[in-house]
């Protein structure tokens, strides 16, 4: 039996469950690279207000001669936003497909449901998205920041995390991000077809180490403000 394949690469990709997963994996890789750079940038907070604010200023001036002031930053934002839309669109579409695939559930709870990280990918992703909205309103636009939008990035950060509940919310969000990366990274490698029975444990360990490093790298900043190490 011959199924006429879809000829256009976009419909070929978007038309299959694996294609949508590839989109999720690719956009996830964009986020992962961004998140690593973001985390490393954050750590500049430990070098003082001048170092941190100069870094924040520099992000606006990179490539200014070609792209103009904040040009590179806006390109990055557009790429990230497009990735986010694709990532969530594909994920929701597969979520719907999975719900459809089992109209009648089991009476006895399934004994083996996979790792906590694997089980919480969908709702965990939703939580990370909600955090993202708050995070941008807090530290980018300053809408919900005690100091407002125009203050120095360092001062906004300290003012925000000086509220213990905000710091705690941030830490919980990066833990959720850690879980998302722990399953997402290895799962993306599997989606790109690079897994093998021999490599599987090594890949899962790799994903765990990357996820743990990112979680700690992010969480250490609000915790340091909370405990007065960064003022």
């Amino acid at each position: 039996m011959v199924i006429t394949p879809q000829r256009n690469i976009v419909s070929r990709t978007w038309g299959t469950s694996v294609g949508k997963k590839t989109v999720i994996a690719t956009t996830g890789a964009v986020f992962l690279l961004y998140v690593i750079a973001h985390m490393l940038g954050n750590l500049k907070v430990f070098f003082g207000i001048e170092s941190f604010d100069a870094y924040a200023q520099h992000l606006r001036e990179i490539g200014e001669a070609i792209f103009g002031y904040e040009g590179v930053l806006w390109i990055l934002r557009v790429v990230l936003l497009a990735s986010l839309v694709l990532h969530m669109w594909a994920a929701f579409s597969l979520w719907y497909k999975a719900k459809r695939a089992r109209p009648v559930g089991y009476q006895h709870r399934q004994r083996w449901e996979g790792s906590y990280a694997a089980r919480t990918m969908r709702w965990g992703g939703v939580i990370i998205f909600l955090f993202l909205v708050w995070h941008i309103l807090d530290l980018t636009t300053g809408t919900v920041n005690p100091l407002g939008g125009d203050e120095s990035a360092y001062m906004k950060l300290v003012a925000s995390f000086d509220r213990w509940y905000v710091a705690l919310f941030y830490v919980l969000a990066v833990v959720a991000l850690g879980f998302h990366i722990r399953h997402g990274l290895w799962s993306a490698i599997q989606t790109f077809g690079a897994n093998s029975a021999l490599k599987q444990n090594a890949l899962k360990t790799f994903a765990f180490v990357v996820a743990a490093a990112i979680t700690i790298g992010f969480a250490i900043v609000p915790l340091s403000v909370m405990f007065g190490l960064v003022r």
Binding site: P5, I9, T16, K21, W112, T191
Partner: protein, 251 residues
């Protein structure tokens, strides 16, 4: 052993089913799970009641006919074991055992524990074969196959199509089944000409039949009586990705 069984009873595909309780007093630890159900059915027949329908054929773990979810576990608590090869010694006196059919839109319940798994046949028909002229067997040494590929292909080929992977998958996906066939044929020289179109056609059929998408949870591998590796799915993804990028087509 005395056991309480809670079994899904559903008279027909359209009927509304429910869990029904039965008590069995004289279960021997050496009975297989299906023998235990045979004993229950004999009692039900003597009492003039409708026996519990379940699929079975070889009863030696190789045909893939039997399959039920036992206490939330496809094929029961013992790894790498089909329901027919599961023995009652894995349960304790006084246990309550929940027995349910595979649950998936693509596997509609026919009666009680019997589900229609023809969706798997549809997936196989869409590419799970090699197109060669049949005749007398070719000389075995004419086509060399390296040892690793031969072993991996054989491991994948041990899939008996029982459907436990679909039953256990939180997404109701048949990825492990499809991946086993794609891996089996894709690793062998005879499978190369149709390798890419096989992957996309079998996946397209699986998607069309309302199986869910894979999220690499790994429940399929945990319940698979043949232990098909989760990495087989990477092989399927690899071939699908290649076919998608190059635009492989079969007509």
């Amino acid at each position: 052993m005395k056991l309480t069984l809670r079994i899904w009873r559903q008279a027909s595909p359209e009927a509304k089913g429910k869990m029904q309780s039965y008590v069995l007093d004289d279960v021997e630890p050496d009975m297989s799970f299906l023998e235990m159900l045979d004993v229950l059915n004999e009692k039900l027949v003597i009492d003039g009641k409708d026996p519990v329908s379940f699929d079975h054929d070889c009863r030696e773990g190789i045909c893939g006919s039997c399959g039920m979810v036992i206490n939330g576990n496809a094929h029961g608590p013992q790894q790498y074991t089909t329901t027919c090869q599961l023995h009652m010694r894995h349960f304790d006196d006084g246990d309550t055992i929940d027995i349910e059919p595979w649950r998936a839109r693509a596997f509609p319940v026919v009666k009680d524990l019997v589900v229609d798994r023809s969706a798997f046949d549809e997936i196989i028909k869409s590419g799970g074969y090699i197109s060669v002229n049949t005749g007398s067997a070719p000389e075995a040494h004419a086509i060399p196959v390296d040892k690793v590929s031969a072993d991996d292909a054989f491991d994948a080929a041990t899939c008996i199509g029982c459907g436990a992977c679909v039953a256990a998958c939180p997404n109701g996906s048949s990825m492990l089944f499809t991946a086993a066939k794609v891996t089996h044929l894709g690793l062998l020289p005879q499978g190369q000409p149709e390798r890419q179109t096989r992957a996309i056609n079998m996946l397209a059929k699986q998607d069309e039949l309302d199986f869910g998408g894979c999220t690499n949870v790994g429940a399929c591998h945990e319940v698979c009586p043949k232990g098909i590796p989760l990495a087989s799915i990477a092989q399927l993804n690899h071939d699908v990705l290649g076919a998608t990028l190059t635009g492989a087509r079969s007509d």
